[in-house]
């Protein structure tokens, strides 16, 4: 059974059912968040850039960009589509620091803050994180199969692994 690859862009949110897979490319400090219902073989993937929507400097912003707004949308949409709340689980990857500036600029530590914000948002919905591949200083491309619930993580230096 060969499904489609559904691409998730930057500051984007997409959903898939088996045999389709979800894929996002080139995660740096951004975090890829997968929430899935393993029995129903359905999943959603968000590619969040920033931790906190209260930092948005305009009122009409893209809610997929921020951890605190993308994750509620991700979970609620799955529930509307029939996923069961008790069955939801999460896998996350990303949050790297691509450049090691010594600057005091908080923006450059955004990877760590993104991971913290994602974990906090998932915790608020009591969705357990089953696996994670976070931090470090490499870009990642991730692909999630709702069929197997495996998340493959590829980096330039270390090849592909599955979590």
């Amino acid at each position: 059974m060969v499904g489609q690859v559904i691409k998730v862009g930057i500051a984007d949110l997409q959903f898939a059912k088996s045999p389709d897979v979800l894929r996002t490319s080139g995660l740096g400090s951004c975090v890829g968040v997968v929430v899935y219902d393993a029995t129903l073989k359905m999943a959603g993937m968000a590619h969040v850039m920033l931790p906190d929507s209260t930092s948005a400097k305009k009122s009409a912003f893209n809610p997929f960009k921020y951890a605190d707004t993308a994750i509620p949308l991700l979970i609620n949409t799955l529930l509307e589509d029939g996923a069961r709340k008790f069955a939801l689980k999460a896998k996350i990857a990303g949050g790297a620091q691509m450049f090691s500036f010594s600057s005091s600029n908080d923006m450059l530590r955004v990877g760590v803050r993104n991971v913290d914000a994602v974990k906090e948002a998932l915790k608020a919905y009591r969705v357990p994180i089953i696996a994670e591949d976070v931090y470090g200083n490499s870009g990642r491309t991730i692909e999630f199969s709702p069929e197997t619930t495996r998340l493959s993580v590829r980096t330039v230096s270390q090849g592909t692994k599955e979590i």
């Binding site: 930057i10 490319s25 850039m49 960009k65 691509m98 600057s103 923006m107 870009g139």
Partner: protein
Amino acid sequence: MSFIESLTDYQIDTLKEIGNIGAGNAATSLSMLLNRKVDMHVPAVRVVDYNEMMELAGGPETIIAAVFLRIEGDAPGNMFFVLSPEEANGFVKQMTGLTEFSITDAEPNDMALSALQEMGNILAGSYLSALSDFINVLLQPSVPLLTIDMAGAILAEGLLELSQVSDYAIIIETIIDDQEDHNQPIRGHFFLLPDPDSFPKIFNQLGVMDK
């Protein structure tokens, strides 16, 4: 509405001139460094969403060598000098005479990386000093950092400041290359991304603020 979505043609032309002046000066520096003729292309000012920006560098998963620096001072922003691995190898060969290496090796040659970093230093420094003179504001570059990784992962770092204000980025893109040797082309892209608050300052300094 954010001014990013409402730039006038006149303002876009002004931004192109910034790309001209900066990259022109950088091309001169590179020409002296390599002792060969280096040309620059007509700059492009692009208003793109984040995903389109990744496509400018060949797609989010494409491996690139990028020298990134943060511009501090009166008109802050981010700058990238982006090369494909082949282009980066070409530069290093020209500068060092090294032949048996690739910057995408698992353990890249230290001298190759150092040469590339230094070239990024020189080019970004000359771009910015020309820019600083032109718009008559103080611009201080951070120490440039070299990274070789996926384009999406690298370029997203330059969008963070911007992304709090807009879903679009204004990119001033200039390509420099040499016409001399088509077997070993020397070519690279500058991407200048002023912070959102810097645009009014730049336009004010140059007298093209329309409000």
